[in-house]
């Protein structure tokens, strides 16, 4: 018999035990709020954007071990990334960075991706009219997505 049996990978457990970036950002540039109580997972993701780059990210999550670990991982992955690159982070990438998730937990990584996208969309929507001020310039590659919201 193995000494220790665990539902999750070591990496998931490590992020679960010591989640990074827990909390809220004061005056965030974008907030993503996803999930619903019926499924038992609710994620809130806050981002701070400077020069079109995510300079800080924090989260608050009500959910299972995988939900907490994916929240923690996604905030780590986006920090320092330009908006365009951050939008390309897929749920699979989050799961892979965690050393994989049990199949029934993959939805948690989807939630993490959606939380991030939702925070970025919130940021872009708030900054639609500010393209010309330079500081928070909207990236061309997501323009079509955001114009609809303006």
């Amino acid at each position: 018999m193995r000494d220790v049996w665990s539902l999750y990978s070591e990496k998931v457990m490590e992020h679960f035990k010591n989640p990074r970036n827990v909390g809220e950002i004061e005056n965030p540039d974008g907030i993503g709020h996803v999930g619903n109580p019926v499924c038992g997972d609710i994620m809130e993701l806050y981002i701070k954007v400077n020069n079109n780059t995510i300079v800080d990210a924090k989260f608050k999550t009500f959910g299972c071990g995988a939900a907490i670990a994916t929240s923690s991982m996604v905030t780590e992955m986006v920090k320092g990334k330009p908006i365009g690159e951050a939008l390309e982070i897929s749920n699979r990438a989050v799961a892979e960075a965690l050393g994989g998730l049990p199949p029934i937990k993959m939805h948690c990584s989807v939630l993490a991706e959606e939380a991030l996208k939702s925070a970025i969309e919130d940021y872009l929507a708030k900054n639609c009219g500010k393209e010309n001020n330079g500081a928070n310039e909207m990236p061309a590659e997501v323009g079509s997505n955001t114009k609809r919201r303006c």
């Binding site: 539902l7 999750y8 457990m13 679960f16 035990k17 989640p19 827990v22 909390g23 809220e24 709020h33 109580p37 019926v38 499924c39 038992g40 997972d41 609710i42 994620m43 809130e44 989260f59 608050k60 999550t61 009500f62 959910g63 299972c64 071990g65 995988a66 939900a67 907490i68 029934i104 937990k105 939805h107």
Partner: protein
């Protein structure tokens, strides 16, 4: 790290004396009980001895006990067996909304086969109202099935009262007694049940064996076909070591039950009261008094059950939750929802079930560890903020 097991409702360790009683039937006394030579008769004798012990524990006659592969099979057998035997008389079944999946899913299967099922609601404690049973009876009703004690919240249903109603109406009455047999006194005549499901591994017996009590004269279709075993009601070569173990477990339970129940009630109350006192925004789920001696089920607001379980596991403590984050449906426990808990509260539930080897020291350890875990998880919960 020393592990603290508080999930005796999920399963119990097999009692060492039970294992000892079983061992000869794997090797020396390995015979097939259907054979006429000494090996076979030796096995047959052991089965009948076990049957006597199981029957004795629930006030039944030996020939009213049919051994099965477990509680789930006993439930399936009772429901399908009666439904298909009584099909020509009626197609209506009454059950409750807090049954084990072994009953609920069997009912759903029967619904797909043309039967009609009434799922009775429960009150905030999980109690079925006998009057609701009475009102649900129609001239097509062929079976009533209500569990004796709920596996999740521990609530004890008014079985004797429902039994009286069923008897007066001439309708078969089944109870899933998987959580009660061997833990509290169960008497099939006092309860007025016609069918009663049991499982060995919930009372320090082995896994893979259970039984269905079938009152003499009750008509039901055999569950397995292909042999003469169990008076033709359940074909298949008997699981002799398992049955012997079940018998031994019921014998031990008979002697230890009363004292053990008292000890567990004391520890259970210490745990529940201690947790409610130490952690704010918590509640007890299930009935405060009419509950299993070993069941402590609480809801902790703003945090999710699996994340609490994982943190407890990191401290060596094994418990259970009604949160369904780990099931594919993602829906929280149907039992907690039937009690009226919100999805958040159901996801934030924890079940501790105590047993023979639970100590006061272990309860103390949970009381020390869980409040810290809740503080940690609440600090990252978006629900706490929106509440404030």
């Amino acid at each position: 790290m020393r592990r603290i097991y508080l999930d005796y409702t999920a399963t119990t360790p097999t009692h060492p004396e039970v294992v000892k009683a079983m061992l000869p039937y794997f090797t020396d006394a390995f015979g097939n009980a259907s054979t006429i030579y000494s090996y076979g008769q030796e096995a047959k004798g052991a089965i009948e001895e076990a049957r006597d012990k199981v029957a004795d524990l629930i006030g039944a006659q030996s020939e009213e006990i049919v051994f099965t592969s477990g509680g789930t099979e006993a439930d399936n057998f009772a429901l399908e067996g009666v439904a298909f035997a009584k099909e020509s008389k009626g197609n209506h079944i009454i059950t409750s909304s807090v049954e084990h999946h072994a009953v609920i899913e069997t009912c759903k299967f029967l619904e797909r086969r043309g039967f009609r099922v009434t799922y009775l609601p429960v009150d905030e404690y999980g109690l079925v109202a006998p009057d609701d049973v009475k009102r649900a009876i129609t001239d097509k009703t062929i079976l009533i099935s209500v569990m004796q004690a709920n596996n999740e919240v521990g609530t004890m249903e008014p079985i004797a009262e429902i039994g009286k109603i069923a008897k007066e109406a001439g309708i078969y009455f089944h109870t899933d007694a998987v959580q009660t047999v061997g833990h509290i006194p169960v008497d099939v005549n006092e309860l007025r049940v016609d069918l009663l499901s049991m499982s060995a591994h919930k009372l320090y017996g082995p896994k893979g064996v259970g039984a269905l009590y079938i009152r003499k004269g009750t008509k039901l279709i055999p569950f397995m076909h292909g042999g003469e075993q169990e008076r033709r009601r359940r074909a298949s070569t008997e699981n002799v070591p398992g049955i012997v173990g079940f018998g031994k477990a019921t014998e031990l339970a008979q002697h230890e039950m009363a004292e053990e129940a008292e000890r567990l009630v004391y520890l259970r109350d210490q745990l529940t009261e201690g947790l409610l006192e130490r952690i704010d925004y918590t509640r007890l789920n299930g009935h405060p008094i009419k509950r299993l001696p070993n069941n402590a089920n609480i809801s902790v607001d703003f945090v999710e059950g699996e994340s609490m379980l994982l943190n407890l596991d990191l401290e060596g403590i094994c418990a259970s939750t009604g949160s369904a984050c780990s099931s594919s449906s993602l829906e929280p426990s149907h039992v907690l929802r039937a009690l009226g808990l919100s999805p958040e509260q159901a996801h934030g539930s924890l079940r501790f079930s105590l047993g023979k080897w639970t100590t006061e020291e272990e309860i103390g350890r949970v009381l020390e560890v869980l409040p810290k875990i809740v503080v940690k998880l609440r600090a990252m919960s978006p629900l706490l903020k929106s509440h404030r």
